[in-house]
């Protein structure tokens, strides 16, 4: 089981972690112009608004880039695949890829979100999208 370093949420990102605890992947949408961005920022650079609404994301996307993360000197620490995901809403998010071997990972692979307790902390995780399995 990999060790999860807990986030230290502040006023700008606590909403993300509270939603994750409930199994929802969300981002902020500007209340003024609807622009979404990740990571969240307290002010919309397009219209200047500091008001926002929470927007639930589909959790579907493709792999933009990926690595295998191992601790360099603690071999008993389980490796994790870290991915940068292009979400279909047009934003990018870092997460982990599960339920697949590193040898089978490829850029642009379709993935979908799920939520799992990792080291006792509920995190958004991704796995190969179900649609891909059907199409084989």
């Amino acid at each position: 089981m990999p060790r999860v370093i807990r986030p230290v949420p502040d006023l700008d990102d606590a909403f993300f972690w509270e939603a994750a605890r409930d199994g929802r992947l969300v981002t902020r949408a500007c209340a003024g112009c609807g622009r979404i961005a990740h990571p969240p920022s307290p002010m919309c650079p397009a219209c200047g608004s500091v008001d926002w609404t929470e927007r639930e994301l589909s959790g579907r996307g493709t792999i933009h880039s990926w690595i295998v993360s191992r601790h360099p000197s603690q071999p008993d620490d389980a490796p994790r695949i870290v991915i940068l995901v292009d979400l279909e809403e047009g934003i990018r998010l870092v997460s982990n890829l599960r339920e697949v071997d590193a040898a089978d990972v490829s850029n642009e692979m379709p993935v979908e979100v799920f939520f799992d307790e990792v080291d006792g902390f509920r995190l958004p995780q991704f796995r190969p999208a179900a649609a891909q399995e059907v199409s084989v």
Partner: protein, 381 residues
């Protein structure tokens, strides 16, 4: 002062580069500054400005007590770690050209191997800015950067062995530089491929910069004053930072195309516009490389080759000492030492003075690029 006034680097100094200096970081800073002042023919009393990194542990007033700087008019620090290495010269140049200070020392000194080791995996949460990364295991610069590099590999079809082409060049240059930690120790591509994975399938051990103990310093004043000093004139032709919206030092994931390096492209644009020079006018390039792929990005951003061509450009010998644009002639941060990129600027000065261990002939312009900051230095008439 005329708008055409230029700054000049009139002194360089350093300690030895090691893995265990046995002395305080402040002592390293003081020794490096004193050496740089001696090189310039100046003393602490002539200094009225200081510039270092926000990350440097050495307090300006503590340094002043050690080297005898009686009054500091200008003290500033540059953000973004090694990415801001060349911004130190920008700060110093701004101070002396504006008249806000007369003589500025730039210093960077640390026990980065024997003391607090950079680049170790995080053990606990830091600021909220790390929240979207640390919980997923992205806990060290090697990994943080690799998630950026992998896209470049994918887009241009590179493997880790391609990055090793640079490592071999850096270690070859270090091998003939007595100042380098890896003096006399070149490597082959097979050595690179036999070194252990740090981040699979992106970085092996020999793609990573060293961990070093040491201090380096520069002395900056106006070109006008520099003419009365003892060293050959080395001018700051242009200096800029490269900070672009949606960029990030460690997590540069949010630009539309991350197979490119927009921060370095911005630096290139401003330096070339300011000087009227182009890539063909640069005789030697110092390219910051905490990890070997950053050289690939910067070769392309600064226009030495086209996007995606860095691999073949290196393989064809263009960055060798006898190539069209020799790169990191001292061995770089992989081969000489990792003094957070400021040792690259010292080598740029040596190449322009004609005193480098691996001297390139007739050097007139040197680029010293650090990803998020860059300078072009020139040989004065």
């Amino acid at each position: 002062m005329a708008a055409s006034a230029k700054a000049a680097i009139v002194g360089i100094g350093q300690t030895e580069f090691s893995k265990n200096s046995g002395r305080s970081e402040l002592q390293l800073a003081a020794e490096a500054v004193r050496a740089a002042l001696a090189d310039a023919g100046l003393s602490g009393r002539d200094v009225d400005g200081t510039v270092t990194f926000t990350q440097d542990t050495n307090d300006e007033l503590a340094l002043a007590r050690a080297v005898g700087i009686e009054e500091i008019r200008w003290a500033s620090r540059t953000p973004f770690g090694g990415g801001g290495a060349s911004a130190t010269v920008e700060h110093a140049a701004a101070a002396v050209i504006s008249g806000m200070a007369n003589v500025v020392v730039v210093y960077r000194a640390f026990n980065e191997r024997s003391g607090h080791r950079f680049g170790q995996p995080a053990q606990q949460a830091r600021s909220a800015g790390f929240n979207f990364y640390l919980p997923y295991g992205l806990d060290a610069p090697t990994k943080m950067y690799s998630l950026w590099f992998q896209r470049y590999m994918h887009v241009y079809g590179l493997t880790n062995a391609d990055f090793g082409l640079y490592s071999v060049v850096a270690r070859r240059h270090a091998a003939t530089n007595p100042n380098a930690w890896f003096h006399g120790k070149p490597i082959t591509l097979a050595d690179h491929q036999n070194s252990r994975w740090i981040v699979e399938p992106i970085l092996r051990l020999l793609d990573c910069c060293q961990e070093s103990d040491g201090g380096v310093a520069l002395v900056v004043t106006t070109a006008e004053r520099a003419r009365d000093l003892r060293q050959p004139l080395v001018t700051v032709e242009a200096a800029t930072q490269g900070n672009v919206i949606d960029g990030d030092v460690l997590f540069n994931y949010y630009h539309p195309d991350i197979a490119r390096f927009p921060e370095a492209e911005m630096g290139a644009r401003i330096l070339y516009e300011t000087t009227g020079l182009g890539p063909a006018d640069i005789d030697v390039a110092m390219l910051y490389e905490n990890f070997s792929p950053v050289v690939f990005y910067q070769l392309e951003a600064y226009g030495f080759c086209k996007p995606g061509e860095a691999r073949d450009f290196i393989a064809d010998g263009h960055i060798d000492l006898d190539g069209t644009i020799p790169v990191n002639t001292h061995g770089g941060l992989l081969g000489e030492a990792y003094i957070h990129g400021v040792n690259n600027i010292l080598e740029a000065v040596r190449q322009l003075r004609g005193t480098a261990a691996n001297q390139v002939s007739d050097v007139r312009h040197v680029l010293a690029a650090a990803g998020r900051s860059a300078i072009i230095l020139g040989r004065g008439a």
